[in-house]
């Protein structure tokens, strides 16, 4: 995987003083740097050309975040929610998954690294202080960017790993499609960090998850973090429906089973490809070789396109079945899916959010290192 190197760095005047900004500027010394008063100035000059979103990724913006770092995952009313909290230290991503939802959301032509780390940590404190006793919050940084792709220049994950290490009502999930785990290996994580990989068959990785690492590298990296005492997690998300999916996903589970220790797997999620209708036009234009827009999609109640329900049921049921064959105890959940599909695909479902949290807590207690610092 080619390391990311921006074509230019734009830094907010105020952010320039932050240690994280200095670290990034040092790391990318030699890259032209421009200073702006406010990040919003970048909006005034969207890149020209047929692919402004792609072009925007070549600009790295260092800025302070003036909003709420900690946001509950936007689950919808019809779907069972798993109390996930999204943290946004970095917004936008150097990787190029064809289906990336950020293509629909992000209007700032840059990858933004937020530099006010202390403020973020203070907000986490505040959020967790309000969690009722016995509650468990999963905090993830992988929603608006890959959690590890910019770890070397920024050190964001390291700060969060340390912050969460001593807590009892939270776990941190770092979600990645890279193998950039080196900076994590020596950290004192207190068993509170889960390193997660999004998995897909190699053919999908090559065609739809551009600039990411292949399956073998992801699995090797997962084994390495397990060896360093971390729990691993896996997201079969997005599951892609295509001719031959069944054999490929079966093979994927088999390779996963060979590579990692199931007893140190915190959870596995299953989620099928879903996106706002407008993204289809973007995918066709930015990635003409992507086959995804040819899927048999229908508009769901959440106003996103989903594969037809029976296709989703079949994929969930099959993959869950193979995972259970591997290890009956593995905690499997469906991401953003309605109750009837949980029932149809998994044969059961937790009745409410409290029950979901309890399942996570139990699973984490069951896997060896939860709540303790591994030696």
């Amino acid at each position: 995987m080619k390391p990311y190197r921006p074509a230019r760095i734009v830094v907010e005047r105020e952010a320039r003083r932050d240690p994280l900004a200095r670290r990034v500027l040092d790391f990318y010394s030699g890259v032209p740097v421009e200073e702006v008063e406010r990040a919003e100035e970048l909006l005034a000059e969207p890149p020209a050309g047929p692919d402004p979103f792609g072009a925007g990724k070549r600009t790295l913006l260092l800025a302070r975040f003036r909003g709420t770092f900690v946001k509950p995952c936007p689950g919808t009313a019809e779907m069972l929610c798993c109390h996930y909290v999204v943290l946004s230290p970095i917004v936008n991503c150097p990787l190029e998954c064809t289906y990336c939802v950020l293509q629909s959301y992000i209007n700032r032509p840059a990858i933004t690294v937020h530099t006010n780390v202390e403020e973020c940590l203070a907000q986490i404190d505040e959020y967790l202080a309000a969690v009722p006793p016995g509650g468990l919050v999963r905090i993830g940084t992988g929603e608006l960017a890959d959690s590890l792709v910019l770890e070397e220049p920024t050190g964001w994950a390291e700060r969060l790993v340390h912050d969460v290490a001593g807590r009892t009502n939270a776990v941190l999930e770092l979600k990645t499609k890279t193998a950039l785990v080196e900076p994590l290996l020596g950290l004192d994580h207190g068993g509170r960090t889960v390193v997660a990989w999004s998995l897909n068959p190699e053919v999908i990785i090559r065609r739809e998850e551009l600039k990411t690492v292949g399956l073998e590298e992801r699995l090797e990296a997962a084994a390495r973090v397990q060896a360093a005492g971390y729990l691993a997690a896996f997201h079969f998300d997005p599951l892609i429906h295509y001719p031959g999916w069944e054999a490929d996903y079966r093979d994927l589970v088999a390779r996963l089973a060979q590579a990692v220790d199931s007893r140190r797997v915190a959870w596995v999620s299953l989620g099928s490809l879903r996106f706002l209708p407008g993204l289809k036009t973007v995918i066709k234009a930015r990635f003409p070789k992507s086959r995804l827009p040819g899927g048999e999609f229908v508009l769901g109640q959440d106003k996103k396109l989903h594969y037809l329900a029976p296709l989703r049921t079949a994929m969930y049921r099959a993959v869950a079945g193979w995972l259970k064959e591997w290890d009956e105890e593995i905690l499997i959940y469906l991401c953003m899916e309605r109750d009837s599909l949980w029932d149809a695909a998994l044969g059961e479902r937790p009745p409410d959010r409290a029950a979901v949290e309890q399942r996570f807590r139990r699973r984490l207690q069951a896997v060896a290192s939860f709540g303790t610092t591994p030696s």
């Binding site: 020209a48 047929p50 692919d51 086959r291 769901g300 109640q301 049921t313």
Partner: protein
Amino acid sequence: MSRIEELTLGAIDEADRTFCVSFGGNLGNLERSMAAVGQTAPLHVRSVDGDRYQLVTGFRRAQVLRLLGRTQVLGAVYSREELPDPKAARLAVFDNFGVRDYNLVEQARAVELLLDVGEMAEAELVNKVLPAMGLQGHGRVLQRLRRLLVVEEEFLETIAEEGWPARAVLPLCAWRADARQAFFEVVQALRPGANKLAELVTWIEEIALQRDKPIESVLVDLKLRSRSQDEALSPPERLRQVREVVRRARYPTLTRMERRASELVGKLQLSPYVTVRPPEGFEGDAYEARFSFASPEELGRIGRRLVEASDDPSAVELRSLLTEGLPEDEEEEKP
């Protein structure tokens, strides 16, 4: 500064199309209005060699005036220094803004003129001009709009004539010429409205992705050319048939599920005053039943039949259709 002068129409070089944006479209309205009230606004021209003029704006008006047999026209005359090329290009494009809507081909020509002669930066075009034309302000739209001009002339004429919009037509600019030509023959015969055209374009592109085949093969596989020219059907029926064939190919499972659901509802033998519909795209957990009745007795009959139907195996299959889809033996399309 320009001078308003009365000019001889014959002194204006209409063959010089450097600044012409107009393309196709009906001149009838303009002709009627000019016949009634005459020329209300001057043409903009540049003087060339003293007694000849280059037309900058007003190509349609000049054409109509000629048709009306006028020999004298009102012109705002500039020298080349007063109206250099970039300014003239902008005047040519913006003079018509607010007077009439450009068709898509004219939008493409306007953009080309602003870039090539108007020396306008791409960013300004994307962020200001495209939205002012009612188009999405995106570099991709600009790129496709420019490609539109290399599309076959005959196709451009139909686009202008039908007033087909960007969302339906611009994707075609990314197709190979032979696919576009084959598709053009189909839509030329069918003359769909903008929405149906956009739908056909999208579905055909996506079938090609689904089947991993070039678009031209999809058109052949679906026999769209012969279907679009089927003499046994009326033009609306032909369009309906082609749309149905393409939809079935695009959504094979969904359309089979729809068919099965309607068969199963039929098997329930409910009153003709009852309609049962699956959720949109089978995305939901409940069917919707609606009924109407004119008397308490009728209501009773409908209610009793609904209760009986609840035990029917078809009702059970309808429920499982929502999550399980078709039974395996139903899954393959019958030839």
